[in-house]
């Protein structure tokens, strides 16, 4: 299990290949990448996080996934700082003997990461003015999504 929090861009494809090559006996690899959308004239976003707690929270979520499903490995990488539209914000990867576990675990990781890992996004419009920047509001749907996982997996 690996959890990485960094400001720098990462090569998602290279990470995926390394992750896949490191598995033994895993028939299924699922990845999710979150990408900055340029909707509504977004120029860039700033991602703030809580150093220390971020790594703890991501590790706890990954550990929970590994307890619920039969997984060979889990990778979580999440950026912070300034990101432009089209940039990859984060990625999760799961390896499992069977595809249902790999899919469910990746889906679970995303739902929990969104609502339980301490990241906050601030969006800057094209004029870049700080006074026009707005914090992204959490969606009720994101919190509601967690209820899907009550009793899911080997719990």
């Amino acid at each position: 299990m690996k959890v990485i929090v960094q400001q720098a861009a990462f090569d998602a494809g290279a990470l995926v290949n390394t992750f896949t090559a490191a598995q033994a006996g895993m028939g299924a690899i699922v990845t999710f990448q979150g990408v900055v959308r340029g909707d509504g004239g977004l120029a860039r976003m700033e991602i703030e996080h809580y150093p220390g707690m971020t790594e703890r929270a991501l590790t706890a979520i990954a550990t929970e996934a590994a307890q619920r499903w039969s997984l060979g490995n889990v990778l979580v990488i999440h950026r912070h700082g300034s990101l432009a539209p089209g940039e990859v914000i984060m990625m999760v990867a799961t390896a499992a003997p069977h595809r249902a576990d790999a899919f469910a675990a990746a889906d679970f990781l995303m739902d929990y990461l969104k609502s339980r890992a301490p990241f906050w996004k601030k969006e800057y419009a094209a004029d870049g003015a700080a006074e026009n920047a707005t914090w992204v509001a959490a969606k009720d749907a994101d919190e509601a999504a967690l209820a899907r996982w009550q009793g899911a997996g080997n719990v």
Partner: protein
């Protein structure tokens, strides 16, 4: 006791600083919030809608009724928006 109090996102912006060391005898997170609100308007503004906030004690998410006994670090922030 001395506790490091951290603020993130718009809570940080309203209070105007990312962290501070607070001397308090507050028994719970809610008691600490009540003390902070007394200090200055900017704290009152930040904690006006406490139900819209999340709190972590020693880097673990918890509720506002959580005890502070032995805590070293308390953080306040809006709901997370990662991913």
């Amino acid at each position: 006791m001395m506790i490091d109090v951290l603020y993130f996102a718009w809570v940080r912006e309203r209070i105007g600083l990312p962290r501070e060391r607070v001397t308090t005898e507050a028994a719970t997170v809610a008691d600490l919030v009540a003390e902070l609100i007394q200090r200055e308007d900017r704290y009152a503004a930040a904690f006006a809608e406490v139900t819209a906030l999340r709190v972590a004690v020693d880097q673990v998410l918890t509720g506002f009724d959580a005890p502070l006994s032995g805590a070293r670090e308390v953080a306040f922030f809006p709901p997370m928006t990662g991913g």
